[in-house]
Each structure stands twice: as structure tokens, then as C-alpha cells.
Symmetry: D2
Amino acid sequence: MIEIKQKEIKTAGIIGANGYTGSELVRLLAFHPNVSLRFLYSRSNSGTKISDLYPDLTTICEMVLTDQPEEVDILFLCLPHKESKNWLIQNPVKDSTLVIDLGNDFRLDGSFGNRNFIYGLPEINKKQLSRAKSIANPGCFATAIQLALLPLAQKGLLTEVYTTGITGSTGAGQSLQATTHFTWRNDNISAYKTLKHQHVDEILQQLVSFNKNQISLNFVPWRGDFTRGIFTSSTVKTDVELSDINQLYQDFYADEPFVKVSEKAIDLKQVVNTNRCVIQIEKCGDVAVIHAAIDNLLKGASGQAVQNMNIAMGWEENSGLNLKPVAF
Amino acid sequence: MIEIKQKEIKTAGIIGANGYTGSELVRLLAFHPNVSLRFLYSRSNSGTKISDLYPDLTTICEMVLTDQPEEVDILFLCLPHKESKNWLIQNPVKDSTLVIDLGNDFRLDGSFGNRNFIYGLPEINKKQLSRAKSIANPGCFATAIQLALLPLAQKGLLTEVYTTGITGSTGAGQSLQATTHFTWRNDNISAYKTLKHQHVDEILQQLVSFNKNQISLNFVPWRGDFTRGIFTSSTVKTDVELSDINQLYQDFYADEPFVKVSEKAIDLKQVVNTNRCVIQIEKCGDVAVIHAAIDNLLKGASGQAVQNMNIAMGWEENSGLNLKPVAF
Amino acid sequence: MIEIKQKEIKTAGIIGANGYTGSELVRLLAFHPNVSLRFLYSRSNSGTKISDLYPDLTTICEMVLTDQPEEVDILFLCLPHKESKNWLIQNPVKDSTLVIDLGNDFRLDGSFGNRNFIYGLPEINKKQLSRAKSIANPGCFATAIQLALLPLAQKGLLTEVYTTGITGSTGAGQSLQATTHFTWRNDNISAYKTLKHQHVDEILQQLVSFNKNQISLNFVPWRGDFTRGIFTSSTVKTDVELSDINQLYQDFYADEPFVKVSEKAIDLKQVVNTNRCVIQIEKCGDVAVIHAAIDNLLKGASGQAVQNMNIAMGWEENSGLNLKPVAF
Amino acid sequence: MIEIKQKEIKTAGIIGANGYTGSELVRLLAFHPNVSLRFLYSRSNSGTKISDLYPDLTTICEMVLTDQPEEVDILFLCLPHKESKNWLIQNPVKDSTLVIDLGNDFRLDGSFGNRNFIYGLPEINKKQLSRAKSIANPGCFATAIQLALLPLAQKGLLTEVYTTGITGSTGAGQSLQATTHFTWRNDNISAYKTLKHQHVDEILQQLVSFNKNQISLNFVPWRGDFTRGIFTSSTVKTDVELSDINQLYQDFYADEPFVKVSEKAIDLKQVVNTNRCVIQIEKCGDVAVIHAAIDNLLKGASGQAVQNMNIAMGWEENSGLNLKPVAF
């Protein structure tokens, strides 16, 4: 076979490359066929090789972290929440640069100077994202819970939702805390931010725009004793038959490469180290439970950022995202 | 100091000593000041030393499993669900023997010949248990969820309850299954028996007897990637103030040695390897969440069986149950 | 940029695709640019979709397992040890087919009819492998330990070696055993096949061919409480300076894409979900310790099989093996 | 039965009660029949309830940490290494007080003013310990490795020893470090202090006093992905038959309540949450491997301290140490 193709290469930089989501982006972009990583920015680790911070990157990416950003085609912001806006103010970026923010600065209100950040959940905003220059990447729990509820919201079937979700320790970032100490966390389960998780507003803003009427989301997040992944179970009342709900979900996600609706039992490790979301629905009487699982660092953060980049650049949506599942 | 006391020693036997709950009873009774273990019964492992099956028992208990039960003062049934009744039919037991069944044969209907099995949740039935000759030990999830909800039920405050619970692998017993394979279960989370767990009936029967009116319990059980413990979060609506709920719980459990209501964050490992239950309540608007944690093999099974024995025999309720927490 | 290239596509089949190494090959070959998977063979699971056995493969590979092998360019044998030879006798394969055996049937003696299996450790046999039609893929511990010792063996510096290695549960395969039960294995460590592991002969046969004189290898394997990976520490006596040993290793592996010698501390997760081996040497007095880490299912099995295929087919050695590390 | 006994009660205090070994002592002493805990000393956490630091201690011990030590009969020092000596200089203690130091200040040289610290490994020094007023509690790895080697040393059979040991995260204490971060440590294995662990000197000092001739101990410690426990495998050359070695070990430990020599496979969880050590010996040709397992916080620290206290006070050696194994 003879292939003739013009491979487009675009330059990219990562602000906050020293954190978990930043380094995970490096792992993805290092093998992306259309991206040339130009710089990795970190104030605190400037001068250090990224592969010294994350030795798994040895031979994959050995760039030195810098505090001097350059002009690039695509800029990823992997900063702590509430720091992206300040960074952009202090480091103005050309209008033509695609900016993808993995923080939560622009998720609820995307307007910022000339820019208008589009909420980067491809399964609802693909068309706008394909034209976007500014993308607000969703939160990890927000991604899992929205994907679990969107088809019902679209039909106006949501009123009261009860969700429990469990997250791996990478969700808490790399800072050393009592609740990320191995001795404490191993074999342990605990609740945090009960009914007050910051992703609830983000979820409701999107769901309500579909559902039209009011939704109440009672969300209990748990800390899990594993590193990667999110598993959520959302309980709702509905008299729609299970087979119809399954059909509704299958139709809603028919063209989505990364969302799979299963009629068999799902489990978290089906998606770990992939950009996929698996969903399963069960029903008993008029109560339905929707389970969903994602990798919090991939579909819940850096993988979805690459997916959004692909869409915005007109590349294959799964480019650089054909990841071997860890499976075991 | 000079102590003069008459220490009562009673004989005990365990039917099904080769399983997890049976062997856990051995670990407890071996150090109980008032109990002399007389026999360990197992059909499948007859002739084998219990310490060959469970080498941690070496030097603690090296009895040989037998298929010949003897007459004893206290008989524990640790059989698979639905086998206790048959066993008692085939092996008649004297009326004076205290029988404690850890299975679910007598939880919903305790009548059996001359015997009337009392539901063995000491926090509601202590008086009856103190006179009982037949005790139906509660299920593990049933224990955690009831302890989390009883004070509200007693006030008639329950209508709709949404509970998620996660259990360690010992809850699935020692049989080898796909879902107990280490390769599958390590770092994994999954749901099972969604809305259909067999403990729901047991829970509702007790709660409704308190609550007076109808309760609906939507229970989503998860398999956890740890061996011991149960953590549950139950979400309910109520306009009672958090401080009043806390007071209600403190009062309800004031005299209970094994239930502790905490106003600080709780976590599973606070109770692992103990007979304790810790409970914490959080509230936001008119929604309350009650978290509870137990060790599924202790307060959820064998520990509670010993607690029930102590009550029925008139011994100190925590006799043999002053267990060092594993903590880490 | 304009690329003109002729992409070669070869057909492949997997015998024993239902096991861990077989399914891991599916995960790799599904994304390999030069391979078209033609069939997945399994006697026991014939008729079942591979993605029903391993749901992580949903959308990645949904082929149905068959008991009818076809003619292919490349054939992988992923059978239990001692079954490959029988399979080839009962299912004759064309001489032109590249056969890669992941079992141990041909590791010590590669002659089989017209075929002569080359020991598939690319770091020593790359030239022969590039012309091979029959490859005996090394064992997992054998790979890690040889890579740790080869540079010393080449210089004739080995006499007595003391190695401890720890392996993840996937090394024990998917059968349900007492030692792969989650309840037993979680947080547990144990030794097995002390001084008698079947890989010792395989290791010595290769090392001695380099080292010229006798080597004794005292190997203590441990079962670890994780799923993927092997970590080994080998202790030897030598008066060569550490800096010289490091140089020796750097030189030996200078052209190897998958072996990295580090002067900093290594850890197992640096290589999990990759085809890489990391090595670190430490020294105190005349005693040197060589640490090595691999992913037992990748560099220790299926990844190395793909690497061998790439070499034998004249493709880029890392084709299909640019795997995102799981890292966390 | 009528018992008449005079129960002796002694007062005790813990210096450094806020750390892991300190809090583990609290867990043990709270249930010890002859000990009345008088104070828990901590400079950094003075004024805080111990059960606020370690909520598992709720209802078990709710003492407030103080920076005012009192006079007590028994004083435990649970300070970071190198701080015990200073503490004793700054806080003189009556000669009649039994001082047990869990640090390493007095292990190699026990002389300190009027005091002479006895090395607190009961299996070799029981007689001296029974008269001791000052006890240097051994290190965790030092305990496991000495118990594994003592019978051979006693017969002068040791020359060259190769030991690998793996330890749980509690061995690293409660400080937050990169290597105790859950995200890093979960499912990970790594070596540290290769050939340079501080316990080697302590081990050799004792072994050589038995063995008479020189011993070289090549010790490679690993960090394990579990919280509690130590497992070691020590390889030595000897032409003594395995049955004779087993007999030697059985004889050596015949009267020891906490050391058990097994001819069957041992594993770490047989001893977790107990004060026991299990040992197994395997042999192939002239090479013997001795495996040993302990709980690093109990037989490796606080449990052994209680055992030493019992011996020094003339109480039952296992008083307060009949701990239920966690087993699963």
C-alpha cells in the first residue's frame, strides 16, 4: 500500500508540567503524531529535567523544565485551581493560540477578554469545540457524573439524583497530606466534601441546560485506596423501562469513540490507563442506578484535554489516545 | 489488691469452623476468659488442624476439626446461608444450649420448633438477648446500615434512604471466584446486587418496627479492594438541625460500648480488627448523610456473635472483645 | 511535510489468546501499525468474544475466539508450559511462518524438526533474531535477572550470585488458586520455589555462554501484593569500581531502546505498563547489588514477543511498543 | 473455680506517644492487666487528645498529650533515633524506674551513667532482662534477621549471609515523604540503604558474640506496598542437613512463646497484628534459606517492648500480648 499524506505538526507547551495532570499530558503528547512539545513550564522546578521528577519518562521525554514560556500553537494550563486566570493575565497569549485549561477557572464562566472558553466535554459540545480557541476542560468527577446522566437529562427525566463516587489518590495531587500518606490510605475508605464537592455546580450547569427543569444532585465523594480511577453510582427515579433507557444511552453515545454503554457488569479497571468511559444501567421497580467509570487522569483530565485538542485542530479524535489498557 | 471471684467457664462449639467467620470466632474465643472451646466442626475439613488451614492460629488454637459435634453450653452456627436450619434438624440440640446462628436462616422469621430466635443487634434488642437461648446474628451490611439509621427510625424520620456501601473481600467468603481473584480485585471497584442485596429485607423489617411508617431503602453495594471492613453512606432528607441529629445519636448510643458517634471525619481503618462501629453525620440544606464503618468479620459477624453471647450469658458485654485496633 | 512510505501489513494469529499473556498480546497487536490480527485461538473459550473475557478490550478488539487456526505470517503461542510442542505437532505450520513461543518448550533446546528456535532476548541475540523464523521468548524472571547480570557475565565477572525477586500476581496466571485469592494475597508477602525456580536453568544457560566459567545462582522468588511487575536485586562480589561497572552497563546497553541504566534509585512503577527494563547498580566494599525492574507481562512476556517480532520482520524495534507508562 | 490472686499494678509513661510506635504502645498498654498509663508525653502535640491524633483509640484511651512527664514505674522512650540520650540527660529519671528505649541510642553501647542498657531481644537475653532496669529494644529488621540466624550463629555455622528484607510503610514513620505518598508507594517496590542499613551493626554485634568468628551480612532492604510487617529471606551455605537445622531451630526456640518454627510455607499475614515471629527453613544442595516474618510495630517494636517489660517486671511474658491476629 502506498500512503501519501501531509502530516501536520503543531507546537505545544504545558504550564504546570510538574504536576500529575501536567506530566500525564507529557506522557500523551510525547507519542502524539501531530504535536511537537516545545516547552514544559514550572516555576518551582525550573532547571530540572521532567524525567528526574518522573523517572518513568526517561527516554520518553527528557526536556528540562523552564520558567520561560514560548509562543506555541497549543497551550495547556495545568495549574492549581484559581491560578489559570492570573497566569494568562501575567503572560498574555496570542489570539491564535489554542488554550486548554485543565483547572476550574473557566468552567462556570468562560468569558475572558477576547476569549470565550468552551466547556470541553466533547460528548455535548463537539461542534463548538471544533471551532474553539479556548477550552475549559471538565473536572474528573464532573466528567464521570455528566456522562452517566446526560442522556436522561436530554429527555428531561432528571429531578433528584443521589450519587456516590470514589476516586483514586492521584485526584488529590502530588502534595503530601495526611490523607495521601500510604500508611493512612492503604485499605482505607473515607468520605470528604460530603454534599459540597466543587464539581456539583459544574455538573448542574450543564445538566440543567439540557434538562430544562431543576435538578438536585446529592453527591457523596469517597477517597479510595487506589491511585487511578473514578467509579460512580447515581440513583434516580424513573418509570422508563430499562431496555428503553439502554437504547437511549446507546443512541446518545453511538458516535462517541470513548464512551461505551455496557449491559454487563462494569468495573473500574476496564478503563484504567485509557481515555474511555464505561457506563452500565441497572433497574429495580422505578429506581434506576447508573454506574460509570473513568480514569481520572485521562478521560477525567489530560486524556480529555488531548481529545479536545484533536477536535479543535481537526485531527482524528482518538489521535494519540489509542492507549493500551493496564487491564490488570 | 486482692480479688476473689468465681470465674464461670462455659463450653462452646463451632459448626463450620473452617470458614472466615468460623475461624474468626476461634481467634476470639481462644482468648475469651469464660469460654472453653470444646470442638470445631467441619464436614469438608474433618481431621485437619484448624491451624493448618489458618496458620496464624498456630500456638493460639491447634484443635483438629471434627465431624462429630458434642454437647456444649454454647453453639455457634457459621454455615453458608440456608444451611443452619437443616443442620439443626439433623443434629438436634438441647433446649438449654445457647444457639447463635451467623447465617440468615432465622433473621426474618425466628421461630423454629421450641426455639424463637431473637434478632441479635444488641443496640435494639439487649433485653430480649439477655434472656435468649436462640440468637439470629445480623448480616454485616445490615449491621452497619441499621446502626446508621436507627436513631432516625426511632423518631419516625425515615422515608426514603439512599445508601452506598463498600465491603472488603472477606465478605465474599473463602471460595475462589473471578471477583475474589487478586489480579482482578486489586485496585478495582465494582457494584453488585444493585438495589437487590439480601440484607435490605432484614434492615427494613427492623427499621420499620421502629419507624412505624413505610421506608424505602435504595442500596447500592460495591466490592472494595481491601479485605476487612464496611463503609456506608446513607443519604436522607430531614429538616432536623445537624446539632439535634447529633444529640439524638449521642443519646441513642450513650450506653453502647461498641458504637461511637463522632463529629469529626471518620474512616474505615478506625474500626478494622475491632468490634466497634463509628458513625458520623453531615448535613447540607435539608439533606443529611450518615456515614458508618465496621469490621465486617467482627461487629459485622463473629465479634457481634461474641457480644451477643456475652449478653445472653450475663457476662461483661465487651468480654473477649477488647481488641487492639490494627489502626495502620 | 510529505511522507511516502510503503506500509507492510502482515497477518498474525494467537494460540491461547484467552490467558493473560495472550490477551496482553491482543492489547499490543490491536494498535500495531504493521499487523492484522487474523484469529484468536482458544479451545476452552471458542465461540466467546475476547472482549467478553476481557471487557477492557471492548471497542479495541471484539474478535470471537475460535478453535480453527488459519494460515498467518506470524504465529504466537501463549500456551501453558509444555504444551507448545504438542500443539505444533498436531497443527503443522508452514516453514515460512514466524513462530514465537511464549512458553518454555524451546528455551533450553530450540531444535524442533526443520525449526531451530532462537532464544528471544534481543539484547544478546538481535542478529540471529533478525533472521529467525522460530523464537523462544524468555521467561519473565529470566528476562529481568539476565538483563541485570549480562554485562558482568560478558566480562567473566560472575561466580556466585544471590538474587531475590518479587513478582506480581499476573505471573501466576488466571487460574484461581489459594495464593491468588485477594483475601490471602492483599498486603501479604511469601516465598515460593525457593532455590528451585524453573527459570534458573534458562538464566544460567545464557549467562554461562558469556561468562565462560561456572556460575552459581541462588534465587529466592517472592510473591508480591501487586498485579504487574518484577523487581529483582542480585548481589555479587567484585572488585571492579562502581563507576567502571556503570560504564560497562551503559556501554553494553547503549543501543538498546528498552533497557535503561540509572545511577539514581529505581522503582517498579517506573516500568509498569511499558516494555522497558530499568537497572541500577550500588556498591559497598567489594559487594555489588544490581537492581532491575520490568513489567512481567510486557518486557517479561508479550511486549518482548512483539519486540522479537519487530526484529524478525525488519520493522522498527519499538513499533507498537511506545506505551504510555501507567506511572501512578 | 475460685481464684485468689494479688494483681500488681504499675504506673507507666510514654515519651513520644504521638508517633507510630508510641501510639501502638498505647493500644497495648490500655488493655494490659498490670499497667496503669499515667501520662503520654509529646512536645509537638501537647494539649491534644491522643484519640484525636489516632481516632481508633476513641473509648480505648482518651488521654491528653502533655509536655510534663511524671514519675512512673516504667518509662518508654519512643523518640526519633539519637534523641533518647538527650532526653534522659534533660529529664533525669529515678534509678528505680524501668526505662525501655525503642530508639537505637543504647543498642550498640548500653552504658549511660548509672544505667546499663541490656539489649532487649528476649530470645537471647531473657535472664539479664529479668533483672534489668534499662532495656534497649532492638530494631525491627534487626529482630527478624537475628531470630532467623541465631540458632546457626550459636553453632558457629555463619560466615557469609545474604539477606533481602521487605518492610511495611509504618517502618518509615508518620512523616510525609515522597516514598510514603500513597500515589507513589501503592503497587510499588524499591530498594533503599542497600548494604548500608543501620541495623546491620546491631545484628552483627549480637550474632558475632554467639558465632565467635567473623560474619559478613549483605543486607538489601526493600520498601513494600503494605503498611505492617517485615519479611526476610537469608541465604547461607551449610552442609548441615535440613532436618538437623530444623531440629536445631526447634530446640533453640522450644521455650519461646513468640517464635514459631514452621516446616510449612509461611507468609507475612500469619503474624500481622501479633507479637509473633514465624520462621521457615528451606534447603537445596549446600544452600539454606531462612525465611522470617514479624509485625514491625509489634515484635519489631512496641510488642517486644511490652514483652521486655513483662520479663523485667516478673509478669507473664505474654501478658497483654494475646492479640487476635488480623489474619486477612
